[in-house]
């Protein structure tokens, strides 16, 4: 298995505040890797730093053998990374169809029709609602739309930032199921940031635990799930 994304010694700052304190992380091709941590641990910052805003101050981010640390965001996103951002951030006044098209922005237009059908096959609900405005969708549908929009660029690596945020457990299972199916059927690599540690670790092949901007634990999903300190901090105590 080859490494698709490697972060080594990455630090990031918001002004004078250090949000990431030398993060090392690897995502191999075909894996689902999850990054769990409490509120404010720096999970979303890590996700955004991979995309170039905020830019990493030290360390290197290597994607597919190329150093992308200093590339502008829009160039990073054209190399086969796609992100479903925190809080979904769909375009509320544009239709579902238009939202999906935005995901294909800057990519070859030849495949768009085919890709849309693939997204509709993954989330049939989006097909029913394609003429509806994004803002009128339910939370779960909006999350499906955010993931579908990210998939429109036909990425190799999908970055998902808290897809379970504010969703009913049943919907979370549905969405995590879709991510698993996608990974199994197409080999899509996924880096999943989650607070919902239990679900995320069950889904992921491997996991990292982020505490105060630094990785404190790493290991297989099932292995992390079994550790008592994880259970205490993120499973029983947290929920």
């Amino acid at each position: 298995m080859s490494t698709l994304l490697r972060l080594s010694g990455v630090t990031a700052f918001y002004g004078a505040i250090q949000a990431l304190k030398g993060v090392d992380l690897e995502v191999n091709e075909g894996e689902i890797v999850t990054l769990i941590g409490a509120n404010g641990a720096g999970k979303s910052t890590l996700m955004m730093t991979i995309c170039g805003t905020p830019r990493a101050r030290h360390g290197a981010i290597v994607y597919d053998g190329q150093d992308i640390t200093q590339l502008p965001t829009y160039q990073i996103m054209r190399r086969g990374l796609a992100q479903s951002p925190e809080g979904r951030r769909i375009f509320p006044r544009m239709t579902v169809h238009e939202n999906l098209l935005m995901g294909a922005h800057g990519h070859a237009s030849g495949m768009v029709g085919e890709t849309i059908e693939q997204v509709f096959a993954l989330f049939p609900r989006l097909k029913e609602r394609q003429a509806q405005r994004g803002g009128t969708l339910s939370g779960g549908e909006q999350q499906m739309l955010a993931i579908g929009r990210a998939l429109m660029s036909r990425p190799r690596l999908l970055l998902l930032d808290e897809p379970s945020l504010g969703l009913a457990p049943l919907v979370v299972r549905q969405i995590f199921g879709a991510i698993r199916d996608l990974n199994r059927s197409t080999g899509l690599t996924v880096l999943l940031v989650e607070q919902n540690a239990f679900q995320a670790l069950r889904l992921a092949h491997r996991g990292y635990v982020l505490v105060n901007g630094a990785i404190t634990m790493a290991g297989g999903g099932a292995e992390l799930l079994a550790r008592p300190e994880i259970r205490a901090a993120y499973l029983e105590g947290g929920h």
Binding site: Y74, M102, R133
Partner: protein, 423 residues
């Protein structure tokens, strides 16, 4: 109970009106042989304060009497949206045939209205689609006008050669404005663009060696039709002479009218096309959520700059036309009032609506012409009209958003679902 609070509210409004009008209307300066003397007008003051009191009371009572959740505005909106489909072609036909039934005065007014329609459509790209509030749009109008005026008077270049140059120069200035404001949004963006508009005007006043300062530029050549001039000489290179017609000044007005109509329709066509292209969709997405745009790999910088540049280009075209129509320009034609007027046309029309902008320009500019006899009260009437409009239809005359792409029939998104001031 309700009546008491309504009375109190009305009394308060009357008090505010009194404070506002005590000097404005209550006092009157009369010029006499021995200088100005101040005359009191207590009755006028009493009258207007009473009018405010009664009007406010009537409005409050009407709002109270009207059943809550009435469906009228929604029906009205749907009706206007439906009518929109037929209104546009009718207006187009009326505009195309205006020279057949309109006199010289109507043509002149038509030219003025169309200039503002074009400016409105140009600004719609920046404000309506990309959501970048630009209070200095008149700067690009000025750049276009001065580009044509200077190029034609110094190097004797014709209108049709200079028109694209004027557009390009304006677009360049659009990009120059765009760079410093890339990170700004909302209020801050508005202030910087406002300042930019003023800077351009102040430079035009003070750079006397180039622009002749506040004296302006005179004798700007008129446009020609394939080299045919519009003058009374009767020469073979004049329009009347070439076609063996009797010269009439109306010929030039008809020609100018069709030039601005063509330019305005070009603006409309281009912005409608752009909306359906990835670039136009990126503008709209940018208006909705900039962070989401970044996460999708949209180059926010170029997207914003193209919006500024293309919007500015149409402002420049309109400016060049303005210069050639007037034959004379000075910095005073490009003050903040113009920016405010164009922006209120865009907002009044319903942000992003092409038909709405045309209707609003017709009402604002044509209306101004109608009220020419009440020149003093013109601004008062339009201020009032704007306030009433924003109360009754806060999203503009023709609000709503047509999806840029749809399977089957396009469905207009009702005005109620479009956020205020966002389109």
């Amino acid at each position: 109970m309700k009546l008491a609070s309504a009375l109190r509210d009305a009394a308060l409004s009357a008090l505010v009106a009194f404070g506002l009008f005590v000097a404005l209307i209550g006092l009157h300066l009369v010029p006499t042989d021995s200088g100005l003397i101040l005359v009191g007008r207590p009755w006028a003051l009493v009258l207007i304060v009473a009018a405010v009191f009664v009007g406010r009371l009537a409005m409050l009572l009407w709002l109270h009497v009207r059943p809550a959740g009435t469906a009228t505005p929604r029906r009205l909106a749907a009706g206007m949206t439906r009518a929109g489909r037929y209104v546009a072609p009718v207006f187009l036909v009326l505009a195309l045939t205006l020279p057949l039934y309109g006199g010289r005065y109507m043509l002149d007014t038509g030219i003025l209205v169309l200039t503002y329609v074009m400016l409105g459509w140009g600004l719609t790209i920046v404000v309506g689609l990309a959501g970048l509030l630009d209070l200095g749009y008149v700067a690009f109008y000025a750049v276009g006008a001065y580009s044509y005026a200077l190029l034609s008077t110094t190097w004797h270049l014709g209108f049709w050669t200079t028109l694209p140059v004027a557009g390009l120069l304006a677009a360049l200035w659009g990009i120059m404005l765009g760079f410093p404001v890339l990170r700004l949004r909302g209020d801050y963006l508005a202030i910087v663009t406002l300042a930019f508009g003023e800077i351009i005007r102040v430079v035009l006043i003070n750079w006397t060696s180039l622009t002749n300062g506040s004296n302006g530029i005179t004798d700007i050549p008129r446009p020609t039709l394939f080299g045919l001039k519009f003058n009374a000489s009767g020469d073979p290179d004049s329009f009347a002479g070439f076609f063996h017609l009797d010269y009439s000044i109306t010929q030039r007005f008809v020609f100018l009218y069709y030039v601005i109509l063509a330019l305005a329709l070009l603006t409309n066509w281009v912005s409608l096309r752009l909306r359906r292209l990835p670039l136009g969709r990126a503008w709209e997405a940018l208006r909705e959520d900039e962070i989401a745009c970044r996460s999708l790999g949209i180059n926010v910088t170029t997207t914003k700059l193209t919006a500024f540049a293309i919007g500015a280009m149409f402002g420049g075209f309109a400016g060049a036309f303005f210069a050639t129509r007037q034959g004379f320009i000075s910095p005073e034609s490009f003050n903040f009032m113009e920016s405010a007027l164009v922006l209120s046309i865009v907002v009044l029309g319903g942000l992003g609506s092409q038909l709405g902008v045309a209707l609003a320009a017709l009402v604002m500019i044509g209306g101004t012409e109608l009220f020419r006899d009440f020149a003093e009260y013109r601004m008062l009437i339009f201020g009032l009209a704007l306030v009433v409009m924003m109360v009754l239809r806060p999203r503009g005359l023709v609000a709503g958003r047509t999806p840029s792409i749809a399977l089957g029939t396009r469905r207009e998104i009702a005005a109620e679902l479009v956020a205020e001031g966002r389109g």
